[in-house]
Every structure is written in C-alpha cells, then in structure tokens.
C-alpha cells in the first residue's frame, strides 16, 4: 500500500495538468489567481463557505444583458445575503479584443452595482479550463466542503434580450437558496449560454 502511494506522487503532478472538468458532487479544483490589486486569492481560502464562481466578459452581449439590466447585481446581492462568497473570473486572453484591464473590469462591475468578493484575472485560462468553463456567463457553485454543487447557466432562457429575464428561472438564485438551507440542489446542471470564452490558444 505504501509503495503504491509513493508511486502516485509523481503521477499526481502530471495528472494535475490533464484533469477532466469536475462533475457535480466531485471536488471543485482549487486555483490561485490574482485579483485586480495583484493579491493572490485561492479558492481554498473560502473553505467552509458557499462560493459562487462567475465567468464574465464585459465584451459579451449576454453578460451585458444581465449586468445592464441589474439582474447580475440582484443575483450577487441575494447570494451575499445568504452568506455566499462571489468570485468573478475573467479568462479572456490578453491578446483578445475583448480583454479589459483588471481595474477597468472592476470599475465596470461597480458601475452596475455588482460587488464580488474578488474579481480574478485568469489570462492563462487555467482556472477556466480546469472547470470546463465555455461561455460567458458560466456559473458554478462550490459548497462549503469544496465540492461542486452547481454548474451551468445563470437562467433558463438563452437569449440576448433583457426582456426575457423576468420570465426566466434564475438557476443561480435557486441553487444558492437550496444549498444555503442545506437542501440538495434540485437543478444541479443546466445549459450555460453566451459567447465562447476567449481562451489563450
């Protein structure tokens, strides 16, 4: 048993690079990203709390749909009221025309009343790829034990039209409410919709 354990050590280092995206119920991959002020923030810093991960890109009309209409702010404030941490992550590569400098991104969010616990820059795309994030917005929720509790879209109507928001089911609000109350998340995976994330190739 010990021998096997020792052999695993080098393999783990290699495997860490080539891991498939987690499914709901599996441990959420840890990451270390810099926030807008350059401070390193780790997902594991928030162990013991509910964490909402929001992949964002102000250049995407679908992100603007939720931000400009106030829906993202309402969702984020609702989550904060329930004790959840909100991390906005931007995995857009620096070379993309959509890339926004960290300070500008934070200002853009603040203008729209969205106040995440931290706005993290993932220009290398490692965190996004670790989670299998493919669209903006793409939402994940990590439970206090560090397991993935929700992965998918922000709501149920995939469109760029803000008029569709009131009639749609806000999956993130629903999941945060259920997780905070200790209940299992009823719709744990849904279809994420939006623009594709501009990963570094």
């Amino acid at each position: 048993m010990l021998r096997r354990s020792l052999l695993i050590l080098p393999a783990l280092l290699v495997a860490a690079a080539a891991q498939a995206a987690p499914s709901v119920g599996q441990p959420a991959p840890d990451f270390t990203l810099k926030d807008a002020s350059g401070k390193a923030v780790k997902l594991s810093d928030f162990r013991g709390k509910l964490v909402v991960l929001e992949w964002t890109n102000p250049g995407c009309p679908y992100v603007r749909k939720h931000y400009d209409s106030g829906n993202m702010a309402a969702t984020q404030q609702d989550a904060a009221a329930k004790g959840a941490v909100w991390l906005s992550i931007n995995s857009t590569e620096k070379a993309s025309s959509d890339y926004l400098e960290p300070a500008k991104l934070v200002a853009w969010q603040k203008e729209r009343k969205v106040q995440p616990t931290a706005t993290l820059m993932d220009e290398e795309g490692s965190a996004g790829k670790a989670y299998g994030a493919r669209t903006t917005p793409h939402m994940y929720i990590v439970d206090p034990q560090g397991r993935l509790a929700y992965a998918g879209g922000i709501d149920s109507v995939p469109s760029a039209n803000p008029a569709d928001i009131p009639g749609a089911v806000n999956y993130v609000k629903q999941a945060v409410g259920e997780a905070a109350a200790g209940k299992p998340v009823s719709q744990a995976t849904t279809r994420p919709y939006g623009c594709s994330i501009k990963y570094k190739s």
Binding site: V24, K49, L50, Y193, Y199
Partner: protein
C-alpha cells in the same frame, strides 16, 4: 420639364424605401451578414404542392451563425413567422452544419452562404381574397453571428407571395439547400436493418449507426448531435467501421444537463449528411445533486470546534505541553508488549561487557539515533503522503491486511528467535555475522530501527488519536513531536547505557539470561495473537486462519534452515515448498475484504455510520452520538466495554433519544477519514456529540462516564 420629371422620379424613389421599411424589406444587411427572406412555390400556392420560405444568410468571411445545436456556446438562429390565416409553418430544415473548433471547445454552424428553408403547409383555412394578388409573409429572425466576438442581431422581413402563378426565382438556392439536407438512413421499417443505438458506457457514448450507404464504408465521418448538453463537443473521439455498422466512442460532458431517451444525430461526409435517431441504451449516470450540504453556519461551527479540540494532548495547550506528552508517551511505549522484550534483551546485553562503558555509551547513542531517525522518517512519510492527497490517518498501517500480516510474520520471527528456535548467526552467512560484531554501532542503530518497527503496531492502539492530532499540526511541529516521541522511547536504554550504576545493578551473566530471553518470546507471541485477531476483523475468519497457517509454515521454514547437511537441504526444500503452496492457495484470503455489510452490521443500539447520515438525523431533530472506532484500537475496545456499556450512560442515551452511530475505521475508509479531518482529528478513537442547532462536542480519548453524562445532559435553557 426634364427637371420636373427628375424631381418626380426622385420623390417617387425617395418614398419607395420608406414604404418598404414600414412593411419590412425582404433583405437586411448588417456589418457581418446579409440576410434575405426568400420564397419558393414552383407549383403555385395550392394544398399539397411544395411551398417553402427560407432565410438566406450570407456571412462576411470568417463570421458564422449556428446550427440547431450550437455546441459549446452560441445560439441557433430563431425564426418567428407571421403568416396569413391558413398557412402553417413547419420547423427549419437545417442543412448539414460545419464543426467550428475553438481551442478545446467546439461549435456547430454555418459560414459563407446558407439557406434555412421552412416548409409551409396550405390548410383548407387558407382562403385568400379573390381580389388580392398576393399574401404577405412576415418574419422576425434572431441570429448570433460570431467570429471571435459575438453579436446578436435581429431582422424584420416581409415578402409578398403571389397566390396565383408560381414563384421560382430562387429555385437554385432552394435546390442547393435541399441537397444539403441530411437524408434519412435506410430505415428499420424495411425490416432488415437493425436500429441505431447509443449506449451510455462509463463517461462516454458508444454509438452504433446502421443503414448508412455502402459507398460510405471505410470513410471517416463527422458526427453532429442534434441534442445539446450531452457530449463533450471539443473532446477527441474515436470511430470505426464494423462491417455495415459505423461505431464511435464519444466522451460525455462532465457537466451534462440533458438525459434524452432518443438522440437524433447527423453524420456527414464531404458536405452530404445522413440523419438517424439513436435509441439510448443504459442509464444516464444521475446528475448528482450534491449530497445535503452542511449549512454554512454548522460548517463554521465545526471549524471553530476543530480549532479548539478538547483532547489532553491538544495543540491549544501549547506545543511545549504536546512535546512533554510525546516524551511521556515514548517512555510508556517501552512497556508495551511489542517493545519491552526488545528493550529488555538489549539492556540485559550490558551484562556481557559490563566494563566496556565507552562501548555502552556509544551503543546507547547509536540506538537513540536509530529510534529517533525512524520515528522522524515515519512521521515524515505520513506527512508526505497526506500532502500528496492520500486519505490517511494514524493507524493507517494497521488498516491494510497485508501490513498486518507482514507485522505478524515479523513478530513471529522475533519470537522464534527469542524462544531459541533459531539464531541469526546460524542463518546469516559468516561474513554478515562478523560484520555485526565488527560494527556494534551499526548494530545498535539497526536495533533502534527494529524497535520502532515493532513499536508501530502498539502506538496505534494506545496513542492513535494523539498522534493523529500531531499530524494535523504544521509540518515542523508534527516532526518535532515525532522526534521527541522517539527520544522518550529511547530514553530508558540511553540512561541504562550512560549511567554505570544501572549496568552494575544487573546480576552477573549466567543461565538466567537464557531463561529471560525465552520468557520474552511470549509477549511477542501475544502480539502475534492480537494481530491475527485484527486481521480476523478485517478479512474474516478465513483470512485469520490463512494467516495462522502461513505463520506455522514460516516457522517450519525457519527451523529447517537451522539444520545441517543433507537433512537441511531436504527438509528446508519441503518446508519452502509447503509455504509457497500455502501462500498461493490461502494467501488471497488474507487480503480479501469482508463484505461491507458484515463490517457495518448494526449491533443492537448502534447503527452503522454513513456520510450525510448525521446531517439527515440532525435535520429530523434527533441528537446524534458518533463513535469513531477500529478493531485494532485498544483504547476504543476498552471504552466500548466500560464507559459505553455503562448502565447510566445508556439510560442517558435513551432519555435524550440519541441516535447512536458507529464509524468503523478498521479498514481504510476515505469517507470516515474525511469526516475525522473535518473534526480536526486524524486517528481513533473519537467520540462526538451532535445536537441540532449547536456545534458538535468532541469528547476525550479515554472516555469517562462523568464526562459523557455531562456532555449528554440537556443544555441549560
């Protein structure tokens, strides 16, 4: 004159586009696409005759719109018709798409020019006015056009469709669009072709498509699923032809949100496509809703509790106190039946060279070094394994039946040696034996290592929880505790070797030494008996029986090697053969684990622990008492037979309606290791009292009746 005519013409011209706008033009141009509404009625607008309308999109180079299933991102083009009464629009007849990869994501869509045709059905309700020459078809279309950025666009279109006469201006475009339609595969209804299926198989879809044209056999096909959110669109997949059937293995998405029973798919080669509906076999793995999460408040309380444990050797008292505890623990180790014989024999060895004080001193230091280094190595190994993610707690060595069996073999050998069945000198070649004599320092060092090896099974039973706590401290503090533990263990021998008075107190060498040595064999045999019992708990009576048989065979082998001459060769060969045969046949029983039910069987009041069970019971309002235990943990067994069997304690359990859960850690169980880690513990025993709405209370290792009763007492209001 000319000027007036020009003015009139300009005015007329000026008005035209406005009126067209008021009704919607049949074509919309944006920066990225030119979209046009077209109609096709080659045989006039009559019931039963083909009637098509469609949106033709001409993209700018490198821009694309999306197919029915857009893939990893994007949105399909949406058409909303406003038709005269009696005309009914069908679904878009999507042409075969193109796969558009972006990094390790992929979308499905169209570039260049595509026409999305929609069939119109003329129902009896269609009664155009006899005076009207045409009817108006209106369309509102939404599409998402992307290159790198994405721009959602919308267009309002209007078209006048003549009801008399034919409309075939764009016949070519429509014919091309029909040619790009996927054709149905040879249908099962003809009776010969088996159905096409998709089997859910361990994170992938095993697809088999039947009825494809013969001309396609051997060719590489493209695969387009019409149902989104099932497969991983960007992943590599494999395909192969199996005679007439095309097969493929396509990975599923890790965050799949659709679980269809039937999956329509399109297969394509060189722009031509074939469509079939796959029947899904096998069950979709449940999209696990995360198990009932511990509410953040409770989780916070758990963390606070873990930070201030109530164990005597707790880190809240301070590192110094923990080190003192480790020193005392090490001293006590010498009294364990595992270690005592080894120590005693070594000390008695002083009588042989009573005057060689310098030799004794060096020997003592070497032994101490051996012990300390081994303990540090053991601690370091555990820390490294934990850092690598292995779910280990202290006592991990006893959770593996193979390790338990090996330890039992080791102890048997040592016991046989003490009993005089064999001497190391007679077994080892003379060169090694003289090595032993020439390097007494090395000999002492190795004795120290051996002492730690034999001590380890005894640490877990008596010091499991305390050492487990040590592992959860920062690495340097944990190592310091292990080193001090080693010092404590080596201390008696070190004192004996340095203080001449002790050596002088020992009686003169004599035959009593032999008797003493033989006597020491029995504690070792007793340890073997205990290890066999532990194995029995892990692998059942068959495992324990197999181990005993192997130990008997091992003893015979060892004895046979002490013989001389031809008898030695003969009997040793026989013994070895017997041992090998036994190991081959019965060895498996040792490592075979008992079915989980046997281990987790409810014993009277006690139910087996399961992950999430505590939360369930708390949510139902019932308080819970959890006993984390293991068969090889002597403290656990002691508590079980004394405090936990005490009448008053049991009465308190009943009065409080406590649910009693037992978490058995005899064999490795990552769920239990994780639960222990959540409580800030790493070894057993651990006793926890859970009450709804309050943080859990962890009780001490050696459970006292008063302590338990105090913890169970209802809190003051």
């Amino acid at each position: 004159m000319t000027f007036l005519r020009l003015l009139a013409a300009c005015t007329a011209l000026a008005f035209l586009p406005w009126s067209a706008l008021a009704q919607g033009t049949s074509s919309v141009k944006t920066d990225y696409v030119r979209a046009e509404l077209l109609a096709h009625a080659p045989e006039g607008v009559q019931p039963g005759k083909p009637l098509w309308v469609g949106l033709q999109i001409t993209h700018q180079p490198e821009w694309h719109t999306y197919w029915k299933n857009s893939g990893d991102s994007g949105l399909p083009t949406e058409l909303t018709w406003t038709l005269p009464a009696g005309l009914v629009a069908g679904d878009i007849a999507w042409p075969v798409p193109k796969k558009i990869p972006i990094g390790n994501l992929a979308n499905y869509g169209y570039e260049d020019t595509v026409l999305l045709p929609v069939p119109l059905t003329v129902t009896p309700a269609f009664q155009p006015s006899p005076l009207a020459g045409d009817v108006q078809i209106k369309l509102r279309a939404n599409w998402l056009v992307c290159k790198k950025e994405c721009i959602p666009e919308q267009g309002e279109f209007a078209l006048k469709l003549p009801v008399r006469g034919t409309t075939a201006l764009h016949a070519q475009a429509f014919e091309d669009a029909f040619a790009r339609q996927p054709k149905p595969v040879m249908s099962q209804k003809t009776g010969i072709v088996p159905e096409s299926t998709a089997r859910v198989d361990e994170g992938a879809l095993a697809v088999t498509v039947q009825g494809l044209p013969v001309a396609l056999r051997g060719k590489t096909l493209e695969f387009f699923p019409e149902t989104g959110e099932v497969i991983d669109n960007g992943a590599r997949w494999t395909q192969a032809w199996n005679g007439a059937a095309w097969t493929a293995r396509i990975p599923l998405s890790a965050q799949r949100s659709a679980s269809p029973d039937v999956m329509p798919v399109v297969l394509a080669s060189a722009g031509e496509g074939w469509r079939t509906e796959l029947r899904v076999l096998g069950a979709w793995p449940p999209v696990a809703a995360a198990p009932a999460a511990v509410s953040p408040a409770l989780e916070q309380a758990l963390r606070e509790n873990a930070a201030s444990p109530s164990l005597p050797a707790s880190s809240s008292i301070g590192l110094l106190a923990a080190l003192l505890g480790a020193l005392v623990g090490g001293l006590i180790l010498n009294l364990m039946p595992c270690v005592f014989p080894v120590l005693a024999i070594k000390v008695v060895g002083f009588t042989r060279h009573a005057d060689d004080r310098r030799g004794h001193r060096i020997g003592g230091l070497a032994y101490t070094a051996g012990v300390v280094v081994s303990f540090a190595a053991l601690g370091g190994l555990m820390l490294a394994l934990r850092a690598a993610g292995e779910q280990l707690g202290w006592g991990f060595q006893l959770q593996s039946p193979a390790v338990v069996a090996s330890l039992a073999a080791l102890f048997t050998l040592i016991a046989l040696n003490f009993a005089g069945v064999f001497e190391f000198r007679s077994l080892l070649p003379s060169s090694v034996a003289t090595l032993e004599a020439k390097h007494p320092v090395l000999n002492s060092f190795l004795t120290g290592v051996l002492a730690v090896a034999v001590a380890s099974p005894c640490t877990a039973p008596f010091m499991g929880a305390s050492l487990g706590l040590a592992i959860s401290l920062p690495a340097w503090e944990a190592l310091a505790i292990f080193i001090v533990l080693g010092l404590g263990m080596a201390l008696p021998y070190l004192l004996a070797s340095w203080v001449p008075a002790i050596a002088k107190r020992l009686p003169r060498p004599g035959p009593w030494m032999e008797t003493f040595r033989r006597l020491m064999a029995f504690p070792m045999f007793a340890t073997v008996a205990w290890l066999v019992w532990v194995l029995g708990q892990q692998s059942g009576i068959d495992g324990a029986g197999a181990l005993l048989a192997l130990l008997v065979a091992l003893s015979m082998v060892v004895w046979a090697l002490t013989l001389r001459g031809r008898t030695r060769v003969a009997i040793a060969a026989l013994a070895l053969a017997g041992f090998a045969a036994l190991a081959w046949t019965a060895g498996g029983a040792i490592t075979r684990s008992l079915p989980a039910q046997t281990l987790a069987a409810a014993e009277g009041r006690w139910q087996p622990w399961a992950p999430g069970r505590v939360d369930e019971l708390l949510a139902a309002g019932q308080p819970v008492f959890v006993d984390f235990t293991a068969a090889w943990c002597v403290t656990c067994q002691y508590n079980k037979k004394t405090t936990l069997a005490d009448r008053e304690v049991l009465a308190d359990f009943d009065a409080g309606r406590y649910a009693l859960l037992r978490a058995d850690w005899t064999r490795r169980d990552p769920a239990i290791t994780a639960a222990l880690a959540q409580l800030g513990r790493n070894g057993v025993p651990v006793y926890v009292v859970y009450r709804p709405g309050r943080p859990p209370v962890v009780l001490s290792e050696i459970l006292g009746v008063q302590e338990v009763r105090a913890a169970l007492a209802p809190p003051p209001l």
